[in-house]
C-alpha cells in the first residue's frame, strides 16, 4: 500500500519569503531584527556585504579554533623532528649538530605542518560550526527556496522562533517587502 503525500503527518517548519534584490533583503533583515525574531536566516547566492551587522551577528569565532589547530601542527612537527633527529636516530650530517641547535633546519617542515594542520582545522571545524554535511533539510521541500542558489534572496523563519505566529509572521514578512511567502512543512 502506498502512502500519498496527504496521508503523512506534517509539522510546520516555518516560512520562506522571497526577495528580488540584495538591497531589499538587507532592509528586511534589519526589520526582522527590529521585530525581535531570533531563529531566522537569509539565504543568498553569495555572501551579502554587511549582512552580519544587519542580522546582529558578531564576527566568526572560527579563527580562534584555527589558531589552536595551527599550534598543534607546529608542536607535532617539532616533536616529530626533535624526537627522531635528536632522540631516536641522531645523525651528524651536512655539518649540522644533532641537538637543540639544529632548529633552523627544522623550520621548513614546522612551517608546512602548521599550515597543513590549520587547513584541516578550517575544513572540519567549519563543517561542524555550520552543521554540514547533511543529506536533507525541510527547506529543500520548498518551491521558493531553491531560488537562493540562482538569483533570489530567501528569508526563512523557523516555527520554533518564540515570535512565530502562523498569520502574524506571514503578514509581517509581506509588510517588510517579501514578493512571495510560502509555508514550509516537514514530515514527521
Amino acid at each position: 500500500m502506498s502512502v500519498t503525500t496527504e496521508d503523512k503527518v506534517k509539522r510546520t517548519w516555518g516560512y520562506v519569503a522571497e526577495f528580488d534584490t540584495a538591497a531589499s533583503v538587507y532592509e528586511a533583515a534589519k526589520a526582522m531584527k527590529e521585530g525581535g525574531y531570533r531563529r531566522w536566516d537569509v539565504h543568498s547566492p553569495f555572501p551579502i556585504h554587511g549582512m552580519d551587522g544587519a542580522m546582529g551577528l558578531g564576527p566568526s569565532f572560527l579563527s580562534r579554533i584555527v589558531f589552536c589547530g595551527g599550534l598543534a601542527g607546529s608542536l607535532t612537527a617539532l616533536l616529530l623532528q626533535f624526537g627522531t633527529q635528536v632522540g631516536l636516530y641522531p645523525t651528524i650530517v651536512q655539518g649540522k649538530p644533532d641537538n637543540l641547535f639544529t632548529i633552523p633546519a627544522f623550520f621548513p617542515v614546522t612551517f608546512e605542518l602548521t599550515i597543513l594542520f590549520s587547513a584541516f582545522t578550517i575544513l572540519f571545524s567549519l563543517l561542524v560550526i555550520i552543521r554540514l554535511p547533511r543529506l536533507h533539510h525541510p527547506l529543500f521541500e520548498s518551491k521558493l527556496f531553491t531560488g537562493f542558489s540562482d538569483d533570489k534572496f530567501i528569508l526563512s523563519v523557523e516555527a520554533r522562533d518564540p515570535k512565530f505566529a502562523r498569520e502574524g509572521t506571514r503578514e509581517f514578512l509581506q509588510s517588510i517587502g517579501a514578493k512571495q511567502v510560502e509555508l514550509v512543512e516537514e514530515e514527521l
Binding site: D41, F46, S63, T84, Y89, Q94, A105, A119, L123
Partner: protein, 464 residues
C-alpha cells in the same frame, strides 16, 4: 573661469571598468556557467579530451615499463643524475603556483577580478601538481619503496633526515597539494549547490547534493564560510611562496657551482608565478572563446594577467643577469666557469639562449597595450613563456650537472624515448584532467562572480 563640471563628470575618468560586461544579471551568470556543464560538449572538447586520455595511457605505459625494467631506461647516469625528470617536476610545480596565487594573494589584496579566473586556475594547479608528483615519485627508483619518504616507524629503525631539503620538499609539495584541494573544495561548495538545485532528481542531483554537503547559503553559514575562506587565503599566501622556495633549496643548499646561490628562492617563486600565469592564459583564452565567456573573462582580466607576466618576467630576467653578475663579482673561478659554459662555451648554450629569448625578451611585448589586447600575440607570448620556463629548469638542472668541478666528471645528457614519452604523456594527463573538470564542475566561481556585480551591494539602488 572655465565651465564648472558636475561631480559625475569629474568621476567619469576614474571610474573602474565593470568586472562583468553587458550588464549581465545573476540569472545569466548561473545559466551560462552551469550551461557549460549541463549542455553537450562542443566538438573541440573531444579534440582535447580524447588525445589527452590516450596520452595519459602512454604515460601509464612508460611508468609500467620504467618500474618493470628499472630507472636505467632513462638517459640519466653520472654525472647527470637529474635530467628531464626533475626538470619536468619543477616545471609542473611552477605551473601549479598561479592557481593558489590568484586564489590567495589576490584575495587578500582585494583584487576582485580574480573571481572570474580563480576556479579554473585552482583546478589547473591541482592537475599540475599531480603531474609534478609523478616524477620524483618514480625517480626514487623503486617506486614501491616510496613510503620511505614518510616518517613512519619501520623495521630498520631508520628515520628520515629532516635536515635535508629533499625531505622538506616532500612536506612542502604534499602540504601544498592538500591545502590546494581543501581551498578548491570549499570554494566549490556553493556552486555545487547551484548545480544540485538545477538538476532533475536522479543520480546527478544526488552526487552534486552529496558533494555540496547540503549547502543552504544561509548568512549564518556564509559568515563562518567567509572567515574560513579568508583564513585559508591567509595561510596559502605564505604557503605558495614557501613551496617553490623549498624546491629551490634542493639546488641552492648544494655546493655545485651554478646552483649554490642565495638568489634562488625569490627567483624560483617569481619564475613560478610567471610560468603559472602564462599557463592560465593558455587555457583560459581558448575556453573563453569556446564557451562564450567574454562577458566574465573580459579584456581587463587578460590585461591584468599579461601585466603580471611582464612584471614577473622582468624579475626573472633580473635574476638571470644578477646570477651572471655575482658569478663575475664573487670571483669564484668555478662559479665564473659554470656561467661561462652555460652562456658561451658549454654544450647546452642553445638552451640558455632559448630560455633568455622566451622568458626575458618575448614578454617585453606586453609593455605595449596593443600586444596585451591582441589575443594572438598574447597566446604566442604565453606559449613562449611555457617553453621558456621548461628551458629554465633544464638549464639549471641538467646543464649545470654536465659541467662539474673536474673535467674528468664532465658529461653530456640526452633523454631517451621513455623520458620524452613521459613528458608528452604528462601533458596528456594534464589536458585530460582539465577537460574532465570543464565537463563536470563549474569552471568559473558562480557565487563569487555574482558577489562582485554592482547590484550585489546591499546599498545599491538602481537609477529609476
Amino acid at each position: 573661469m572655465s565651465t564648472p563640471t558636475t561631480v559625475e563628470q569629474d568621476l567619469r575618468g576614474v571610474a573602474r571598468e565593470p568586472l562583468v560586461l553587458s550588464g549581465r544579471d545573476y540569472k545569466w551568470i548561473t545559466n551560462r556557467i552551469c550551461g557549460v556543464v549541463e549542455n553537450k560538449q562542443p566538438f573541440v572538447w573531444w579534440l582535447v579530451a580524447v588525445p589527452g586520455a590516450l596520452l595519459s595511457l602512454v604515460l601509464l605505459f612508460t611508468l609500467v615499463y620504467l618500474v618493470s625494467t628499472g630507472v636505467g631506461v632513462w638517459g640519466l647516469n653520472q654525472p647527470i643524475a637529474w635530467g628531464w625528470d626533475i626538470t619536468n617536476f619543477v616545471f609542473w610545480i611552477g605551473i601549479g603556483h598561479a592557481g593558489t596565487l590568484i586564489s590567495a594573494i589576490l584575495f587578500l589584496t582585494r583584487q576582485k577580478w580574480r573571481t572570474s579566473v580563480n576556479r579554473a586556475a585552482e583546478a589547473m594547479t591541482l592537475f599540475a601538481v599531480v603531474c609534478a608528483g609523478i616524477y620524483p615519485g618514480f625517480h626514487v627508483g623503486r617506486f614501491w619503496m616510496v613510503w620511505f619518504l614518510a616518517p613512519v616507524p619501520n623495521s630498520n629503525a631508520i628515520w628520515q633526515n629532516f635536515k635535508s631539503p629533499l625531505l622538506w620538499d616532500v612536506f612542502a609539495v604534499s602540504t601544498y597539494f592538500t591545502v590546494s584541494v581543501i581551498f578548491w573544495f570549499i570554494g566549490l561548495i556553493p556552486d555545487l549547490a547551484t548545480l544540485r538545485d538545477r538538476c532533475k532528481p536522479g543520480l546527478k542531483k544526488a552526487l552534486y547534493g552529496i558533494f555540496s554537503l547540503g549547502w543552504r547559503g544561509g548568512n549564518r553559514q556564509w559568515r563562518h564560510y567567509e572567515m574560513g575562506y579568508l583564513l585559508l587565503a591567509a595561510l596559502s599566501t605564505p604557503l605558495v611562496l614557501s613551496v617553490h622556495s623549498v624546491v629551490s633549496f634542493d639546488f641552492a643548499t648544494s655546493v655545485v657551482p651554478g646552483w649554490h646561490t642565495t638568489i634562488f628562492p625569490p627567483y624560483f617563486v617569481a619564475g613560478a608565478i610567471f610560468g603559472g600565469f602564462a599557463m592560465v592564459l593558455t587555457l583560459m583564452i581558448p575556453c573563453r572563446a569556446i564557451y562564450g565567456l567574454h562577458d566574465m573573462l573580459t579584456p581587463k582580466h587578460i590585461d591584468n594577467m599579461t601585466k603580471i607576466i611582464v612584471l614577473t618576467g622582468t624579475i626573472v630576467g633580473y635574476a638571470y643577469l644578477m646570477e651572471l653578475f655575482i658569478a663575475f663579482y664573487g670571483g669564484n673561478p668555478f662559479e665564473v666557469d659554470a656561467f661561462h659554459m652555460r652562456a658561451v662555451s658549454g654544450p647546452y648554450v642553445w638552451s640558455y639562449w632559448a630560455m633568455m629569448f622566451c622568458n626575458v625578451i618575448a614578454p617585453q611585448a606586453f609593455w605595449i597595450p596593443w600586444c596585451r589586447k591582441n589575443l594572438v600575440v598574447v597566446m604566442c607570448v604565453c606559449m613562449c613563456v611555457n617553453t621558456g620556463m621548461w628551458y629554465e629548469r633544464f638549464v639549471i638542472i641538467a646543464t649545470t650537472l654536465a659541467r662539474d668541478f673536474l673535467p674528468g666528471q664532465w658529461g653530456y645528457y640526452e633523454p631517451t624515448w621513455v623520458e620524452i614519452a613521459m613528458f608528452v604523456g604528462s601533458h596528456g594527463l594534464f589536458l585530460f584532467l582539465f577537460a574532465l573538470f570543464i565537463r563536470f564542475l563549474p569552471m568559473i566561481a558562480i557565487s563569487e562572480v555574482k558577489g562582485v556585480l554592482p547590484q550585489s551591494d546591499p546599498h545599491h539602488h538602481p537609477a529609476h
